[in-house]
């Protein structure tokens, strides 16, 4: 079976499990929305301030709460499942790619729900060309999904996993957060998003290469 076919099977399996459990959509999405509701409560009720910080809060909420999507229980395979996949001859890199792709799709779903909520609650200045956020959102979802999948593999079977994995992902996501926020600002000031987008492409490619190359050695740890 080809690499692509193996990755697609893993992707479909992960999405099917998520469809059954609804873990990301019924737990993580409301969790992220709660954060968006909490922020204005902790700040002085200044509409101008809220409209300024709104787009930035969108990325922070996406990166901090979205990472729980990549750590969701349905993405974790038991030792028996891993052993079975290994015996079936599944390429660890294909497994990694499939899982990361499934997480990226779910993260995009997360962004699709959070973004309109942010626009309604924070009312950022309406600027023509907001659709240009789409490539930034896709790149952020892809990058975070890869970093999250790597962190999930790195902390697999550790007792401290629930605390350790977010500690690894949050600072590693900074090269995605900064250009994403800058790109949003560029859209607001009617400048191009090419440079931040290219920077994000470079980061996504770098982590994707590391993830694929290290999939085999990481599988040996669990």
């Amino acid at each position: 079976m080809t690499f692509r076919k193996q990755a697609m099977i893993i992707l479909r399996r992960d999405l099917r499990i998520e469809g059954r459990s609804g873990e990301a959509m019924f737990i993580t999405v409301p969790f992220g929305l709660v954060a968006l509701f909490l922020i204005p409560l902790a700040l002085p009720l200044n509409t101008e301030l809220l409209s300024t910080i709104g787009p930035g809060m969108f990325w922070v909420v996406t990166l901090l709460f979205g990472m729980f999507i990549t750590f969701r229980q349905s993405a974790a395979e038991s030792s028996a499942q891993k052993e079975q996949l290994r015996m079936l001859g599944t390429d660890p890199a294909a497994r990694f790619t499939g899982r990361a792709a499934a997480s990226a799709i779910l993260l995009l779903g997360f962004e699709l729900v959070v973004a309109p909520t942010m626009i309604v609650l924070f009312a950022p200045a309406a600027v023509p060309g907001w659709l240009a956020v789409t490539p930034l959102a896709i790149l952020a979802a892809a990058g975070l999904a890869i970093i999250g999948t790597l962190a999930a593999d790195l902390t697999a079977s550790l007792r401290t996993r629930s605390a350790l994995a977010p500690l690894l992902v949050a600072p590693l996501s900074v090269p995605l957060l900064v250009p994403a926020a800058q790109g949003m600002e560029s859209i607001r000031t009617k400048n191009g998003i090419l440079i931040p987008a290219l920077f994000m492409v470079a980061v996504v490619l770098a982590v994707a290469v590391i993830g694929v190359v290290t999939a085999q050695p990481l599988e040996e740890t669990t």
Binding site: L167, L168, F199, T214, E220
Partner: protein, 237 residues
Amino acid sequence: MKPRYALLGLATIGMVYGFSWATRMPGDAVQGESARIISVHVPTAWLAFLAFGMTAVFGIAWLVTKHARADHLAAASAEVGVLFTGLALITGMIWGKATWGIAWDWGDARLASTAMMFFVYLGYLALRRATPDPTQRARRSAVLGAIGALQVPLVYFSVNIWRTLHQTQSVRPDGASMPTETLISMLVNLAAFTILYLGLLVWRADQLRFEEARLAQTHLTPNAGAAVIPPKLQPGS
């Protein structure tokens, strides 16, 4: 004499010489006396980059060779790197307070990215502590070390990518934008701190080797709360 003592002795002599140059350098026209901190700040920041870069190199070396020494060196390099990154952040904040009027500026890309690099390596050390099995620990930390090293060029070039408060590199291929005494003090300390890094690296790597050997000898596992295995009953007992 053990190499580590020779390295530490050499580093001490170098630092004494470097700091003596720091007292001789002229005060900066804009920054005044506070500019002398460059003799400590730049070497500590350089070591932060070097140490984390070497953590990745030793980690990859472990993945290739599976030699325990490479893992011990990677761990030691990360520990020393965390120490020097902390020092670079503290000295940078002191310098920022004296020059910019504030110790921390959120808009400054170099400050924020250095702090994030610091947390990446705190995560690296936390991952090592959380993994009791030596082989698993080496493998996982080698991968994380390689990912974490992506931050090093980002932090280094952050002053060029995002033109914020932090000044760009003072020493470039086309020359240095500082007086000769300042440059000498900085370069001597740069060399001395690098030797100090090597000494600390060898010292800590040896300690880690001894700790691992002792644990293996006494059959102790470092994870508290591990399952208690009942003694095997001998026939006739």
